[in-house]
């Protein structure tokens, strides 16, 4: 009895001292964790906290109140904006699904020539800011756009693709459908073909088979993509503004803060509503997916059985694919035409072509490109450094509270860009440098906002990369005399290389075309990034030509960077495979 007690005490004390020792094992790790925590606190938690605080306090006195929310609920404009945002987001999901479903199904399910090409082209819309496409779409699908002019000529009808909310829905669906395409394709590829064959064996075929077995199994992937689209559309600011749709929530938040002033509480109330909707959508999708993680590929599996199509099926499939590709690539085509057009209105195609817009852009507007390169690179760099560090702390140390870093960084997903922008303005406007410039006016704030916005994606990439490295590789290095730090430098980082680069590119490419957060923070033209320049150009008819040229440059920039990194990742993976 006594012996047992002693042993128990001994064990208890040894575990607690073990924890203690592990916690204090490396001062470097603790310092790192504190550094990251401080960064997240300063540039994520405090600004967002400030927004929420202001929304719930009385203007002037600073006392807690719900009056601001009552005001929100009593104002027709806000309520209408809210429902408009919900409607537009939901409809965008529907229309995006209409684009994505056939592409995903046809390319994963059939032996389809060009399946790879389609999947690649499917990514394209993502690398152009949606509001840039909006202008091109107006020219192609607007009331007096090419398509309607032709329809009017031939059939005497016009289709209101771009009228009011329709325009926002159409543009957003075209822009964001790749999220559904990518997730759904992956899910379809992961279905064990035996699942499908078992259904055929029991008498099911064709569309019933798809509806009852294939689609439900791919559901988690679909929901993941659809909820992402919903959140993105709900938060987007620039597209509705550019299409002159003001009665939606994100534009209202922006307009309130920029036109009435930074002290007006309504912008903050709307921000809180935006955050809540983001969290709600993510929560719903998480709930819908709970218990549905059907990793159905078992051994001998290998995805849906690919079937050869009969000739008429082939014809229908190619027709559908080409039509969808035309629709989703229309903004790019339109933009390209516009960038070379002298005058383009009331005609299906431009009147004449010129290189003048590119000349102008390379002359006076090159500062936008330069700024974007700098901002997006620094933001991407910050993201991969933080991402790698957080991943390392979470996966390789026993530091207490390390998951908090992960959660905090990931929480940025739920914060709409416009909310972060408002938070930065409010928080850092009061803080001044010795010479009197407010902190919020510095261009580095734009970079930090971009970095925070993109951190979750880079973090996931780094996390996955580190997870795939076996701990024994590191132990072997330590066993041969390398210190922790040198092991990280010589073993971990080189092996994570591909993942880190992938994280950097995602951050870079998306930060390069981001506008929601930065629109609020740009103080002068000379500090403005590309997306801002585009936005300014696109607002005047005369600026459209140069704007389009700038847009083409942006798309090329992102595409080239993405492609180059893809090549590098592939080569490094090949080298590693040989070494193994």
């Amino acid at each position: 009895m006594a012996g047992a007690t002693t042993a128990g005490r001994a064990r208890a004390s040894s575990t607690s001292s073990g924890n203690f020792k592990r916690l204090l094992a490396s001062p470097g790790q603790i310092a790192l964790a504190f550094g990251i925590a401080l960064f997240l606190l300063l540039f994520l938690v405090v600004p967002v906290g400030t927004v929420i605080y202001v929304a719930f306090t009385e203007k002037g006195t600073g006392e807690f109140t719900l009056v601001n929310f009552l005001d929100f609920a009593r104002t027709d404009l806000f309520i209408r904006s809210f429902w408009n945002s919900v409607y537009v987001s939901a409809m965008s999901v529907v229309v995006a699904s209409v684009f994505a479903l056939p592409l995903a199904y046809i390319t994963t399910r059939f032996e389809f020539r060009g399946a790879m090409l389609i999947q690649t082209l499917g990514f394209l819309p993502l690398i152009m800011p949606p509001f840039v496409g909006a202008v091109a779409m107006l020219l192609l699908f607007g009331r007096n756009g090419s398509v309607n002019l032709l329809l009017d000529d031939w059939l005497g009808i016009k289709i209101p693709f771009m009228e009011g909310l329709n325009g926002v829905i159409f543009v957003q669906a075209v822009h964001y459908f790749p999220f559904i395409l990518i997730n759904l394709s992956a899910a379809l590829r992961n279905i064990d073909r035996a699942m499908e064959e078992a259904a055929q064996n029991l008498g099911s075929s064709g569309f019933r088979l798809f509806r009852r077995i294939v689609f439900p199994l791919a559901m988690p992937g679909y929901i993941a993509g659809a909820s992402l689209v919903f959140v993105k559309v709900f938060d987007d600011l620039a597209t509705p503004l550019l299409l002159n749709v003001k009665d939606m929530l994100a534009p209202q938040a922006y307009l309130r803060v920029t036109s009435i002033g930074i002290a007006d509480p309504m912008g903050y109330v709307i921000s809180v509503v935006l955050i809540c909707m983001s969290i709600l959508a993510m929560w719903i999708s998480a709930r819908a997916m709970r218990g549905k993680d059907y990793a159905t590929v078992q051994r001998g599996g290998g995805g849906l059985a690919k079937r050869r199509m009969r000739p008429w099926e082939s014809a229908v499939a190619y027709g559908a694919v080409l039509l969808i590709l035309f629709l989703v690539l229309a903004p790019h085509l339109g933009l390209l035409l516009l960038s070379f057009a002298t005058v383009w209105s009331f005609s299906p195609l431009p009147d004449a072509y010129t290189l003048a817009h590119y000349g102008r852009v390379f002359g006076e507007s090159f500062v936008y490109v330069k700024n974007t390169m700098i901002y997006a690179s620094i933001a991407g760099l910050i993201d991969v450094v933080l991402g790698t560090a957080i991943a390392y702390l979470v996966l390789r140390t026993k530091l207490i509270g390390r998951e908090w870093l992960d959660w905090a960084a990931t929480a940025a997903l739920a914060i709409p860009g416009v909310v972060l922008g408002i938070g930065y303005l409010r928080t850092f406007y009061g803080v001044q440098l010795p010479d009197g410039t407010p902190l919020a006016a510095l261009w580095i704030m734009i970079v930090l906002a971009l970095a925070i916005r993109r951190l979750p994606y880079a973090l996931r990439a780094c996390y996955a990369a580190l997870q795939q490295i076996s701990v024994s590789l590191e132990e072997a290095a330590e066993n041969l005399g390398a210190t922790k730090l040198r092991t990280i430098r010589r073993i971990v980082l080189p092996l994570m290389g591909g993942g880190i680069l992938a994280g950097f590119v995602t951050s870079f490419a998306t930060a390069a075309v981001e506008l929601s957060a930065t629109l609020m923070l740009v103080q002068s033209n000379s500090d403005a990034p590309l997306a801002y320049g585009l936005y300014v150009f696109m607002q005047s008819p005369a600026g459209r030509g140069p704007g389009a040229a700038l847009g083409v440059i942006a798309v090329l920039l992102v595409a080239v960077c993405t492609f180059a990194s893809h090549l590098i990742i592939e080569r490094s993976q090949k080298a590693k495979a040989v070494g193994r």
């Binding site: 064959e197 259904a199 029991l202 008498g203 099911s204 051994r299």
Partner: protein, 365 residues
């Protein structure tokens, strides 16, 4: 599990499966080479063979998931070549079970009946009956992920037999179970098949599994049916060296057939000579094949021939002792019953082996 099963109509419906001259290639890889098999109505039939020999391919061909390059498959006398899988009425239990995770057990089992537009009440009745049959009625509302491997396997069987298929195909249905479950479930399968009288084809690479539950076995290798027969026939009279080796332990002694006067002898490589009994047909190029229990140390029976040998090693297996004995250039295994207190013969000791020629075979080399 032992009460009589309500679906009795099946017994009268049992059909045969006729596979004629079937050829199949995946590109340059010739996987099935002129397969001919006749599976009788109500028979429990096994495809047995090593990994990669084409068992699954042949099974999937019957179910309609593969298309043959040549030959035909007849189910109940009807050529099914041009029927898609969903019109064949050939129930298949997949190796991975392929239970749909988004449906409950009940919904899984009901699926095939719903596809056949069976009336609702009838579906309920038949689902309940099928689940009852496999002893899982109480788990009807669970999801597949909430079942053990053995239970999942039984749901997969229930799902297939609920549609009352003409033929039941089982692709290594026991391979995902642990050793003990395997023995239990294979008995249940046999029991079920007997009660339903359903023509059943069972794919396995485990000879014990095939031996214990199947009426007849087709041994396959390299896309060719090596031999068809009952488990005992295959064991006692293997048609070739592959079958002899694949089913149980076989001793194989290479040598040559010699004729001296009117008599035939077999010269084992290394210098031992045996008389060949007059009635036995022996090919010119032949090997002598016998099982370890068909020989003894010293003379076992009156008809035995004696061969000189040297003990190389010995193993105690419980009820028997297994000796490795060198005869000429070859080494053979010999089992003798273990008597308590008996000492093992030491390696190096010279022994005489009594071989019963009635049980031995000469197979073409």
């Amino acid at each position: 599990m032992n009460q009589p099963f309500p679906i009795t109509s099946l017994e009268t419906k049992a059909v045969d499966v006729d596979i004629r001259n079937v050829d199949l290639s995946y590109g340059a890889n010739h996987v099935l080479k002129g397969i001919n098999l006749h599976i009788r109505p109500g028979e429990f039939f096994a495809f047995l063979g090593p990994s990669g020999c084409g068992k699954t391919t042949l099974l999937r061909l019957i179910a309609g998931f593969n298309e043959a390059d040549g030959g035909e498959v007849l189910v109940g006398g009807r050529d099914v070549a041009h029927l898609p899988p969903w019109k064949r009425d050939v129930g298949m239990v997949f190796q991975s079970y392929a239970l749909w995770p988004h449906m409950t057990v009940k919904r899984n089992v009901a699926f095939g009946l719903e596809e056949r537009k069976v009336p609702k009440a009838e579906i309920d009745r038949r689902v309940a009956a099928a689940l009852e049959l496999v002893g899982l009625a109480h788990l009807a509302d669970r999801r597949p992920s909430q079942l053990s491997g053995g239970q999942q396997q039984r749901v997969a069987v229930a799902r297939t037999i609920a549609i009352e298929p003409k033929v039941l195909l089982l692709d290594e249905p026991l391979s995902n179970l642990d050793a003990k479950m395997r023995v239990q479930v294979r008995r249940e399968l046999r029991d079920l098949q007997q009660r339903l009288g359903l023509t059943t084809i069972f794919v396995t690479h485990d000879q014990e599994e095939a031996n214990t539950i199947c009426d007849r076995i087709a041994v396959m290798n390299d896309g060719i049916v090596q031999q068809v027969g009952t488990p005992m026939e295959l064991y006692e009279k293997p048609a070739n060296l592959f079958v002899a080796n694949f089913l149980g332990t076989a001793n194989i002694l290479p040598g040559r057939v010699i004729r001296v006067g009117g008599e035939r002898f077999f010269d084992i490589d290394g210098g031992v000579r045996l008389p060949i009994p007059t009635h036995v047909i022996v090919p010119d190029e032949a090997k002598l094949v016998f099982r370890p229990q068909h020989a003894s140390l010293g003379r076992g029976g009156t008809g035995d021939v004696l061969l000189p040998g040297t003990v190389v090693h010995s193993e105690f297996l419980g009820s028997t002792l297994r000796y490795g004995v060198k005869i000429g250039a070859a080494e053979v295994s010999i089992d003798t019953p273990f008597h308590s207190g008996e000492a093992l013969r030491q390696p190096g000791s010279a022994v005489e082996i009594g071989l019963s020629l009635r049980s031995a075979l000469w197979l073409a080399a």
